[in-house]
Point group: D3
Chain length 67, copies 6
Amino acid sequence: MPYINIKVTDEQVTPEQKRQLIAGATQLMVNILNKNPQTTHVVIDEVPASNWGVNGQQYSGTKNQVK
Amino acid sequence: MPYINIKVTDEQVTPEQKRQLIAGATQLMVNILNKNPQTTHVVIDEVPASNWGVNGQQYSGTKNQVK
Amino acid sequence: MPYINIKVTDEQVTPEQKRQLIAGATQLMVNILNKNPQTTHVVIDEVPASNWGVNGQQYSGTKNQVK
Amino acid sequence: MPYINIKVTDEQVTPEQKRQLIAGATQLMVNILNKNPQTTHVVIDEVPASNWGVNGQQYSGTKNQVK
Amino acid sequence: MPYINIKVTDEQVTPEQKRQLIAGATQLMVNILNKNPQTTHVVIDEVPASNWGVNGQQYSGTKNQVK
Amino acid sequence: MPYINIKVTDEQVTPEQKRQLIAGATQLMVNILNKNPQTTHVVIDEVPASNWGVNGQQYSGTKNQVK
């Protein structure tokens, strides 16, 4: 506890960015909620852009407009 | 908002079906809840059939009986 | 299978709307993916507006702009 | 996109802390992944401590040891 | 790690049953996957029966047929 | 109903272990909550170790210490 799940499309997420996301999300729990980082879990789900839709359309077809 | 997550086994989902799922789920939010489609997100997770169980058994072993 | 999770803020969702969401989401699975409705599950999560943020702000503070 | 779900036990989360969690998680997406905050959603789930277990025991019975 | 999420309708789940679910799910991870129970988290979500549908209908209206 | 989601890192999960996880989690629902196994769904998500963090670090870099 806590458990943080981050879902993003599977474009452009580098190993260094994953490292930063995990470190940053954990630090939020420590700073804001005074949680123990040793029991804070962060899971990143990379979703294919064709499986994520907004405004009724797939990201794979709209990525010029929305990021 | 809203956020809709659709989980199905990873068989037979075509790009056109994904497009229809995203459009259809978004339209439900507009029609029933009067939500803004521009802030409605739909995420489709395709789960390997060997990772999904019902009645205590994997779908990969039961797909003749259950769909 | 399938499993559909719908997350919305906890404002204004009537019993009739829940009924329509469940019926509508199930029908999408039948029409688009040819799934069996008897094994299609729909779960609606109503999230307090103060627990949902977009653009870095809680919905409870932004509901005039975004729906 | 992105979508961030934060699950914590339902103790001691003040409105100000929720505001900070939403702002902080959104800022991570902007800073690390260069995402648009207007399409970044954060949902906080507050789980009763008796419904969360670690080491095979409920948090409600172990909160002196683990945070 | 691991993280187990159990969703059930919010009927009839006693504190003792929650305790057993958490202990049992943790033990599965230890026995089958050789995981460390100290890092195994179990979260139980109790969903209102009117928010869960199967076969296109709410559980609150079908509980005589399906459990 | 119920719906159980098991998230583990994507190391070392054999088909036989998946079978056992699904059977075991379903049996817990039958034994503890008296649920119908035919409507009990279990979904296993295998998460890349580089996408899962604890104590602010990726599992892929800490697997000697934590399991």
